[in-house]
């Protein structure tokens, strides 16, 4: 221990620490030695005394007015900085938080914009669908309720005796509908198709499913022949195969 103390006192750690010339590690070291070894504490206290003595010998009378300048600066510091520092720290924090919040909200806003666009598009589509469906239902209602509307039974020919359907035709409104109520069973690779004459051409109106039970709109035609149902291969043909006609839709 004696050796350690000797080593410390021989080094200029204490003097450097006294001057405030030590780095963080050296400062900790010096403070530890001072609290650990009474001899080191004693040496340090003596150095402090000597420093004050030596410095006193070199004191210089300050000029008039220097104290006022210093006191003015301290007052400015107290008024401004104390509160200013607190407020500026708070303001910095607030700014940081608001920046983070802004970024978060901006991101959220972008997402909401995107979601909103999607929803709007969906609403538009639904509206259009609904409008079409409503128009359809309205027409169906008009046709079915109209006294001018005539009901025609559609029957299958020899190839599909069980086929049953009802056609509704209103020559005044020039509207026609068909409701297929029964279809004979078909092999898997075949399907029923409905055809109608539009501008002198036979047009494919689509596959009729068994037990569809839907009122389907048919393009109106003046010449009593609205169209017919055929049996076609599943893939479908561009034009009907007349040999495969199973029912004529006529009034």
């Amino acid at each position: 221990m004696k050796e350690k103390v000797h080593e410390i006192l021989e080094s200029d750690l204490l003097e450097s620490y006294l001057m405030g010339a030590t780095n963080d590690v050296e400062t900790l070291q010096a403070e530890q030695f001072i609290s650990m070894y009474p001899e080191v504490r004693e040496a340090y206290d003596e150095l402090q005394e000597n420093l004050e003595t030596f410095a006193n010998l070199h004191s210089v009378q300050p000029p008039e007015g220097l104290k006022d300048k210093i006191m003015a600066r301290i007052r400015k510091e107290t008024k401004g900085t104390g509160k200013f520092l607190k407020y500026s720290a708070a303001a910095s924090l607030a700014l940081l938080l608001s920046a983070a919040a802004s970024y978060f909200l901006w991101n959220q806003n972008q997402d909401l914009h995107k979601a909103n666009a999607i929803v709007n598009k969906k609403v538009d589509t639904l509206q259009e669908d609904l409008r079409e469906q409503l128009e359809d239902v309205r027409n169906q209602f008009i046709v079915l309720q109209n006294p001018e509307t005539k009901k025609y039974e559609v029957k299958g020919n020899k190839k599909a005796k069980e086929l049953k359907a009802v056609a509704y035709v209103n020559p005044v409104k020039r509207l026609s509908y068909i409701n297929v109520s029964k279809l004979p069973h078909l092999p898997e690779d075949q399907s029923y198709r409905m055809w109608a004459e539009v501008n002198g051409k036979m047009v494919n109106l689509g596959i009729i499913e068994e037990a569809d039970q839907k009122l389907l709109a048919l393009p109106y035609s003046d010449d009593n022949e609205l169209g017919y149902i055929t049996v076609e291969p599943k893939g479908g043909n561009q034009s009907p195969t007349p040999e495969n006609i199973v029912a004529n839709i006529a009034y």
């Binding site: 003097e15 001057m19 000597n50 420093l51 004050e52 010998l57 070199h58 000029p63 107290t78």
Partner: protein, 192 residues
Amino acid sequence: MSTLLEKHIVELLRERNEKAISLLYEHYGATLLGVANKVTRDENLAQDVLQESFVKIWKKSHTYDASKAKLFTWLFRITRNTAIDKLRSVKTKSGKEIQIDVSDVYNLGVNSTKPELIDVHENLGRIESKYQIVLDALFFQGMTQQEASDELDIPLGTIKSRLKIGLRELKKIYSMAILLTLPLNLIHLVIS
């Protein structure tokens, strides 16, 4: 410097009472200006340093720990480091190398010295210059003992011993000077 006054000042500092700075200035201002003067060797610069030091003392007052240093030691550290920083910044601005010439360290004007310390100042001459140079290099020039050894071209061991002897001599002179500045009747009292 009485410990009682020190305690009072520290208390005022803690309470953020401006009176603390006023008292510090009254009791340590001249000494700290001397420190700034020694380091910068420029009266105007030293006054700037003293102003900045007091602002720092005010701002850092919560960091003062009486168990780690005497009040003066703490004030000295702040002032000295402020002066060294100031000197460096001036050096960088002017681009000129400021010579630290240890041989003229006691060209301090006697008139600017605290009147009650004039005797001491005159007595400083009694300390052999070889000790004064070492004390000055270590306390004011910011040198470590090794640096002083290199700068002054004196072996490290000699630096150490001159520092010890110099301080001892200083103490003797200072205690004598205190007696000399005391009123005569008080000295009689002390002696009897």
